[in-house]
Amino acid sequence: MIKLGGKRVPMREQKPKERIKNFKSVPLGYNEKEVVKEAQRCIQCKGLPCETECPINMKILEMIREIANANFKKAFFIIKEDNPIPAITGRVCPQENQCEGVCPLSKRDQGINIGKLEAFVADWARHAGIKEEFHIKERPEKVAVVGSGPAGISCAVDLRKFGFKVTLFEALHKAGGVLQYGIPAFRLPTEVVDYEIKYLNDIGVDIKLNFFVGQNIKFDELRKEYDALFLATGAGAPMFMNIPGESLKGVYSANEFLIRVNLMKAYKFLEFDTPIVCKSPIGIIGAGNVAMDAARCALRLGIEKVYILYRRTKKQSPARIEEIQHAVEEGIILKELVSPKKFIGDDDGWLEEVELYTMELGKPDGSGRPRPKKIEGNEFKIKIRTIVEALGSMPNRLFLSRTPELEVNDWGQINVDHNLMTNIEGVYAGGDAIRGNATVILALGDGRKAAKSIRNYIINKARKK
């Protein structure tokens, strides 16, 4: 009954014209029939390239085998062994550079749609109310996890499973970190994130919201009160171009734009109180996933003309292929090889025009991509009334300024050893706080790894006593 190879089962999606009017998920998800058919394409190859390429080495093959037999419950338990948040990673992982990219089927057609299989199984379990079953053998030690993004979530889950008392600190009013404030609902529905957070509550993680480590509790106090710490403080500080006109009204960081839209629900203004002012045309600077998210949010706020202003070309964009495709289908205009020189305002201090440099590609830089170079004398102006700077972000400055004893590198990323321990004993770190702008799955892997290191650390310490 297993049908090998064949064409990928197409994913049903909201039509572009419709979806730019709402914040609902763009992919509609496979149904049971489709998901089984897609899983049955898998040739179950022996080399396991997909699992090798997965940053957390999920047991993808076994999952696919169970899905192919319509045994969704078993598939769910298999994924959950490695991944506490499959409904999330299934939606946001850059699968084309990982599991799906190395699938042998991708040579002929497309690789197995592993991300969508994973999301299906997790959604199926959520709707069926099926949860992972495990028994927690309580231990007396306490661990503090700072930051409730993907690294913090995965670490907290594993630490609870090991029996520790876990307190998860979050400065915002909702847990989830970038999953909550950054990634828009049309890519990651809010209910999916909320469900995972509720799961943390269910297994006994004590979540302290509106609690700002460094302000509400000093680092020293935290160390005294807990047996170990995991710092998953992320990279939440926005970078700016530092060019003239940046203080003009109408210029946002991607963080501000996305926080207003996603976390504060500014797209439902008047029902929700947080405003956003977005005038057409809008220009998004950068071409990563965050830039695509901001551009597509702008369309959904009713902006007709949305430009992506990118200093390289589409080929070098760090965004997921699916995000670029979706953005282009929705009518976003990609302007390649341009970089802002200055923002020009009107008499009332509102952005009116942007002066752009024309760029060309030079020799490869440290990232392996061709370095963009300005072509002097080729500057030109275009009418743009809103700018969103999606240039990436840096580790959270305030937390670090309150913990001078913590060693960081030149970019403010926390230094860790191979066990993810920082220079301070019993203090571990992971996710974007040590990597800069990385992915959800790498953060998740760090969280899991740190949980194991913390367990070893605490158990060894207990033995020595």
């Binding site: 009013h173 404030y181 919201l209 939440g236 700016f240 003009l248 009204k249 960081s253 009332d348």
Partner: protein, 282 residues
């Protein structure tokens, strides 16, 4: 965790004081810091001034002026009602040490913000000259409280209903020029509307008196993530929420501060009018 209002007082026609339960803030608060609150699930996050804290009781006192939808809604709450969130203390504490003679200038609700600073500076052994300004006598707040910790106190009102008829900056200039020991004035702290802070900075600049302003920019998260509160100090970008809120007033680009404060005005008015209409129809 919600934050119950245990005491509410109307300080003037449009200014209110609420005391709320927020032990985690009360315990760590220092003069100069602030909080961000949200009233309910659909509220915006707004930064508010803390005028005093009671760590043993676990409460903090917030002072706000009704300027839009959220502050109007906040003023409609009564004792026993609760706010859904209160995060803080945010920002850096004021620099509190013995400077000598310090002039503290407060305008409007800025007076509530300067009150704990006046108290802390007095306790640190400074001699405080306070200058308070309001549009009219009825809008003047916390005069008695601040008087208690000040060596000298001056009041000015825009309409002349109390004290000097004019602006706090007129009084500031007079106090500086008439002071026989001008060199003893080691610091001026000014908190109020940005136009007032800008004017005060221009008064003190020729005298080279170190002048500190506390910026009341628009903020969303208040933890250094959104960059909405960015402000330019000596040409360098700073975030009011985590680098401030206090900066050297002689180096702040107040024009940018003032301009950026009006970025959402149209929407703010829309929300305010909509809210007033909804209240009327009730």
């Amino acid at each position: 965790m919600s934050h119950q209002i245990v005491n509410k007082k109307q300080l003037s026609a449009d200014t209110y004081q609420i005391e709320i339960k927020a032990a985690h803030v009360a315990e760590k608060f220092s003069a100069g810091q602030f909080v961000i609150i949200r009233i309910h699930e659909k509220s915006e996050r707004i930064p508010l001034t803390v005028s005093s804290v009671a760590p043993i009781k676990g409460t903090i006192t917030l002072v706000f002026q009704v300027v839009g939808k959220t502050t109007m809604e906040l003023s409609s709450l009564e004792e026993g009602d609760s706010l859904i969130n209160c995060v803080g203390p945010l920002g850096n504490p004021s620099e509190i040490r013995k400077f000598g003679k310090v002039i503290c200038v407060g305008g409007g609700t800025g007076i509530a913000c300067i009150y704990p600073i006046v108290k802390a500076l007095t306790e640190a052994g400074n001699e405080i000259i306070s200058i308070l300004g309001a549009r009219t006598e009825k809008m003047l707040i916390l005069e008695e409280e601040i008087k208690e910790f000040s060596q000298e106190i001056y009041v000015s009102t825009d309409d002349g209903s109390k004290g000097h008829h004019g602006f706090v900056t007129d009084v500031l200039k007079e106090v500086i020029t008439k002071n026989q020991h001008q060199e003893d004035i080691n610091r001026v702290i000014v908190i109020g509307p940005p136009q007032m802070m800008r004017a005060a900075a221009e008064v003190t600049r020729p005298y080279k008196i170190k002048t500190i302003a506390s910026l009341n920019t628009i903020m969303v998260d208040g933890t250094g993530m959104c960059g909405c509160c960015r402000t330019y100090v000596n040409g360098e970008m700073k975030l009011a929420c985590i680098d401030g809120p206090e900066f050297d007033a002689h180096k702040v680009d107040f024009d940018a501060v003032i301009s950026r404060l009006s970025m959402f005005r149209e929407k703010e008015i829309m929300a305010y009018e909509d809210f007033k209409k909804r209240i009327k129809s009730k």
